[in-house]
Symmetry: C2
Subunit: 384 residues, 2 copies
């Protein structure tokens, strides 16, 4: 069979290619977005893992919207108003896919920051949406250009990662949050707030969700992949009940429902009295790795390279003098370090300033230090 | 946001409405398609459930195509040639959705039997495919009309449930299997063979998959929901490697991958030495329930009602004299028995002979007997 037109437009994932090359034992990978396996709170899951065998009902078909005890727990945890609710997805990636399928026709316009999360571009490409981008400043999207975009392009929605953005690590300021929310209300644009890294703040003060300022013009995606385990594939979407109904309808066709034992396991973990302490531990761990990577980079980078300091998340964005970053990333692989070049985080048509995304959560301090040695050597040679 | 056009066309699931009403304690439900919770082989899963806590790698992000040890096991189990492979899905429902998204453009034609599985119609409606149907005989699809359909409509694919069809319970004869396979090859139509009930044969001899006669013109969907547990949401698609590539590409956007602990758990179960014995047990159990329902119906049905005897699966198809089966099903609910009316198993435009789908796997013999009393009383009153 000939594949669908929608699929002919998607490019193969360069990250997957790099990740595949990065499995070579001699390569230190800063390319992925993986949490450290050693951090998985398996000990805290153990009591519920043992209970599962005595809960035959969770092995039966479940409700499409999710396991009700988990929904109830999250409703309270996120202090949702009665007008709002939560639905469970097979990872927050599915939540994004459901939103795209439920709300977007081919050629409908969606606004995103540039650069932006690759997986979001993939799902919006799959529904053949028209992606328009707004450049990012150090505090979040450029507000003047965002308003111009809302005015001129009239997007249906604005997709954003306000907390420790993937790939740049940028965390929106309070003022930007308030201004974006106001613009969404003013121009009737739905904010799709993706918050997978929100809990990974290791310095500075926690800020409200952007959606807190526009609760009726937003849908929020949350992930447990960075603080619990990505393997479970359990994420959550919250929003107005009426806004989630179409997602539930699509999900019925997409996979009926997400794994119920995994939902019960996640609930047991979230309710474990030591879970908050566990999150504290991974924050400290990731902060120490970030410090290690940032310090080593600051000391060794050749002129013309720039780093953005961050307060959380999983990535450092390394800006470079103008160059072919694809070729650079391939060269770096031969030097034994895997990184992701900036163009993969931009839509095909958009210009992409030269940069690399560096992940620091899945390598030891020794590996990070050695990776920077290789990277700095490679950069010096390449940029000359 | 206004919902997508594709979603505006899908009707809300009548089965869901009935299932929701059927949770009333006074209603005996023959409406669902649920296996009996008591049959779930939790004891056989227990050893692997305990092992999970010592396998940190399965809590990490996994490969989109699935957990490799499970793929390897299934490759051998299904004796796939080297040209073919298996990929793991979040239930076989997702496999179907991935096929629809990877291969169907709006207006592309898909052929199905009529009646047909509701969840398949849903996913093909979601991609706005043009559904054409071929009537079913007691041995499978009407071959002359199927050839006519292939000739005149040139569908991209033919979706079918050859083993213990949902909703009719029909099992295709060997001859029909061979003829359908030959037609698929002759007219270059891909067979999408959905086999969730295949293992639930309780009489007669097992027949080859239709795909065994056209391995290069087919994609096969398999489910573990009826023989293991639907709550896990693990299904599998097998086919030519090249044919599965586009599905993997869509799945990357859809949910990245299916739950790895659930895949490992399923593998442990499939490898348990007592698993085959477990399947034997549920075959016997369901046969006894089928016998109970069939016998009671045969004795009490009013004139003009017809039953098809079956050799496996989960459903009996009860043909009725011409009547409004929606109104009938609603009346039956007030009498304390939930059933599904035939029109929900036909595309909107297709004519639907009056019938009811009756499930026998999730009720005790006492409940089945009482359900038939209520059904027979109701039918006599309604058909007069």
């Amino acid at each position: 069979m000939e594949i669908a037109h929608s699929l002919q437009q998607t490019r193969s994932s360069y990250i997957r290619e790099i990740l595949s090359a990065a499995t070579d034992k001699n390569v230190i990978s800063l390319a992925g977005g993986l949490p450290d396996e050693q951090t998985f709170p398996i000990a805290l899951m153990q009591p519920m893992l043992e209970k599962l065998a005595h809960m035959p009902e969770i092995f039966q078909y479940g409700a499409t919207a999710g396991y009700q005890p988990l929904i109830n727990y999250l409703h309270e945890l996120y202090q949702l108003p009665d007008t709002h609710t939560a639905m469970i997805c097979t990872g927050s990636q599915q939540g994004l896919d459901l939103i795209a399928r439920a709300y977007f026709n081919p050629q409908d316009t969606i606004a995103m920051e540039a650069p932006s999360y690759l997986g979001a571009m993939q799902v919006f490409n799959l529904v053949q949406a028209n992606i328009v981008t707004v450049p990012q400043t150090e505090d979040g999207p450029d507000i003047a250009l965002l308003e111009q975009c809302f005015q001129q392009q009239q997007p249906k929605a604005f997709y954003a990662v306000p907390d420790f953005h993937n790939p740049t690590g940028v965390c929106w300021s309070l003022s930007v949050r308030q201004q974006v929310a106001a613009l969404c209300c003013q121009y009737n644009v739905v904010l799709i707030e993706d918050a997978p890294y929100r809990e990974l703040r290791f310095s500075g003060e926690a800020l409200p969700l952007v959606s807190d300022f526009c609760p009726n013009h937003s849908i929020v995606l949350r992930s447990f992949s960075k603080i619990a385990s990505p393997g479970l594939r359990i994420g959550v979407v919250t929003g107005k009940r009426g806004d989630l109904e179409p997602l539930i309808k699509v999900k019925q066709g997409a996979d009926l429902h997400s794994s119920v034992p995994m939902q019960a396991l996640l609930l047991g973990l979230l309710q474990h009295p030591d879970f908050e302490q566990h999150i504290q531990r991974i924050r400290h761990l990731y902060q120490s790795r970030y410090d290690c990577l940032y310090t080593a980079l600051s000391q060794q980078l050749p002129q013309g390279c720039h780093l953005k300091p961050i307060n959380g998340g999983m990535f450092i964005w390394l800006s470079l003098p103008d160059c072919d970053t694809f070729a650079l990333a391939k060269t770096m692989l031969t030097k034994g370090v895997a990184v992701v070049p900036s163009p993969v985080f931009y839509p095909d048509a958009a210009p992409s300033p030269a940069a690399l995304r560096l992940n620091f959560t899945n390598a030891s301090p020794e590996e990070l230090t050695e990776a920077v040695n290789r990277l700095a050597d490679g950069l010096k040679a390449y940029l000359n």
